[in-house]
């Protein structure tokens, strides 16, 4: 299997819709549940006040990012954390490799981290002979299947209970008709051994507080608590945009993140970490490393419109409500971040050419903007990247020609009227099927008969 890339979007989406119809059922059901819970959770609070506050804090952070990065590094260092700066994915992996060599690490566990997906941490470690176990139940399922995550929050939402039964029967010897409780218990037993044997625990970082050097992590299962508490070394991958100015800001962000993601008031477990085990503490890691990752984020920050996408706190609400995402799950996007947010991050982090056609994987319905907890203007930014794609000559000649033709027509009223009257006399019932695009649409639908008079004619005749 070739490595998935954004350029394969259309083929991958088509393949899933044709060959794996169960994916659409599973993804649609799961995202509707997430979205319904989100709606319920925000009914209880002043949604607009929360989202506006969160937007302002993140915009403040980003417009002072240099100062906050320096403050965070100073506090982390005081806390005994070793800080690494990584311009690229390779830099980040090299920093990880130095830790692995220094401690002769053979076995590792990892809590769910989308940045680690972006960097390719698992492949890198396995290539060096280090065992890596994903410990989030959903991540564990897809690791056993050899698949990438399909969703930022629920990596295995495209899998049904039956898919898991078959997998666990094969891998863990559970009964073919095991209940979800029995499946989860089998995973708990298998992963408990991994936690106790691992020398290295890895995590991402939901937030990194500049004021205190606190790494904040939120989850529901406890696997991140265990990954950051049991092994003697902890390495955290943190995007430079994940900072928060103050410790007190966590009060808002921890709650907004889970209300947006799953509708819970807060995740079952929050870890607020201030470095390695201290004298007098019974346990905890001996060494903590934070790898601060750029990997394209400063490119995105430099874009006068698209920098707003860096406010993202990875809640997945825009995926859950997206009618396009719901059809296929996240795999067709071909990289770590899928759905509406993935489509606007990709051009900044990967480069626009590599990210094509993701800004087009949207109907521009605008629902994503209504649920974003940090009010990222996602539809505007999709259009922003489409404009840039046209400017840079990255879209097909046909579309450019059609758009140019339409622009010429729409700016010349006489031409516009003539073209309009021509369209009204096409016999749509059978003729429509011969036309490109419309042919596909009218193949399974009864096209309506167009009015014989244009709106302008009706207007001139004095319609009400």
């Amino acid at each position: 299997m070739s490595h998935p890339r954004p350029s394969g979007y259309a083929d991958a989406a088509e393949r899933i819709l044709r060959e794996e119809p169960g994916v659409r059922d599973s993804v649609t059901a799961a995202t509707r549940t997430f979205h319904d819970h989100r709606t319920e959770a925000f009914r209880a609070v002043d949604e607009d006040a929360w989202r506006s506050w969160a937007r302002e804090v993140k915009s403040h952070l980003l417009t002072h990012l240099d100062a906050y990065l320096e403050e965070a590094e100073a506090r982390l260092t005081e806390n005994g954390v070793q800080v690494h700066w990584a311009e690229t994915a390779d830099d980040a992996l090299e920093a990880l490799g130095r830790v692995v060599d220094q401690h002769d690490i053979r076995r590792s566990v990892k809590g769910k981290s989308m940045l680690s997906e972006e960097l390719g941490v698992n492949e890198y470690l396995e290539g060096r002979g280090v065992r890596v176990r994903e410990t989030d139940l959903g991540e564990y399922i897809i690791q056993l299947l050899g698949e990438p995550p399909s969703h930022i929050v629920g990596p295995a939402i495209h899998k049904s209970v039956d898919d898991c039964r078959i997998l666990f029967h094969r891998e863990l010897g559970t009964a073919p008709d095991a209940t979800p409780e029995e499946l989860a218990a089998a995973a708990r037993r298998a992963l408990r051994r991994e936690f106790l044997d691992a020398d290295l625990g890895m995590s991402g970082g939901n937030f990194l507080v500049a004021e205190t050097g606190t790494l904040a992590l939120m989850e529901n299962e406890g696997n991140i608590r265990l990954s950051t508490s049991l092994p003697r070394v902890h390495v955290a991958f943190v995007g430079i945009e994940k900072l928060l100015p103050r410790f007190a800001d966590l009060a808002g962000f921890l709650q907004i993140l889970t209300r947006s993601a799953t509708g819970q008031p807060i995740g079952n477990y929050v870890s607020l970490l201030q470095g390695p085990r201290r004298p007098g503490e019974p346990d905890g890691p001996d060494e903590v490393h934070v790898i601060l990752v750029d990997n394209g984020r400063t490119n995105l920050l430099a874009d006068d419109a698209a920098w707003e996408a860096l406010r993202c706190i990875r809640c997945g609400a825009c995926l859950n409500i997206c009618p396009v995402y719901r059809q296929t799950g996240g795999h067709p996007w071909g990289w770590a971040y899928s759905g509406p947010i993935g489509a606007i991050l990709a051009p900044g982090l990967l480069g626009l050419e590599e990210a094509m056609p993701l800004p087009y994987a949207s109907s521009l319905c605008g629902a994503c903007a209504d649920v974003c907890p940090v009010k990222i203007p996602i539809p505007d930014l999709l259009l922003h990247w489409r404009e840039r794609a046209v400017e840079e000559g990255l879209i097909g000649h046909t579309e450019a020609l059609v758009m140019k033709g339409y622009a010429a027509m729409a700016t010349h009223p006489d031409l516009f009227r003539k073209a309009g009257s021509l369209l009204r006399w096409i016999p749509w019932k059978w003729g429509g099927r011969a036309l490109p695009v419309l042919g596909g649409w009218s193949g399974e639908r009864e096209p309506p008969e167009p009015s014989k008079a244009s709106f302008q004619q009706l207007w001139d005749e004095g319609i009400e």
């Binding site: 990012l65 240099d66 311009e87 899998k159 708990r188 265990l226 007190a248 477990y269």
Partner: protein
Amino acid sequence: MSKHEILRRVREALDGRPAVDHPGDFESWGTRPEEATFEDAFRAAGGEIEVLADLSEVATRIGELAGDAPGISVGAGVPEEFLPQLPRLEPRDAPVGVSMARGAVTETGSLLMDARDGRRAQLLPPTHLVVVYRDTIHPTLRAALDAVVPDLPSGLGLHSGPSKSADIGQILVKGVHGPGRVVALVVERG
């Protein structure tokens, strides 16, 4: 140096961009903590609540909750008088862990677990019994964070009910990695 290059690129990117002010402190717009109780919030998160009027009841109740467990693991901060006469086990071998909470949060139904008490006893046993003094319960998360920030340990955990997952076909399962049963024993300080 990666650090200087990243900071240089950040400054270049921000050149000419209007700075945005911090909007000020988060207020709990709408969660109405003054009407809620910690007991309700913790139960809503799937936890169990025991309210004990007297410190002398704690050891007895913990003994009853431990049932026929062969032993318990105990956090470093749990006073001796709270503990029943049961063998002490390592957290990885114990069916029951007993911890002392540093505090609690009504708004989110969370127990504040301090690393100085020991993380393993808080996470490894399938049942977790947590003693929390009534006068350490904060109405909001903001108030709780303000209270702990002057004295942060290496790790502070907010535990809001038992471990849960819906990763297998969206069906909720308890006790996936952390404890599947969590009991908060709320006591009045004598």
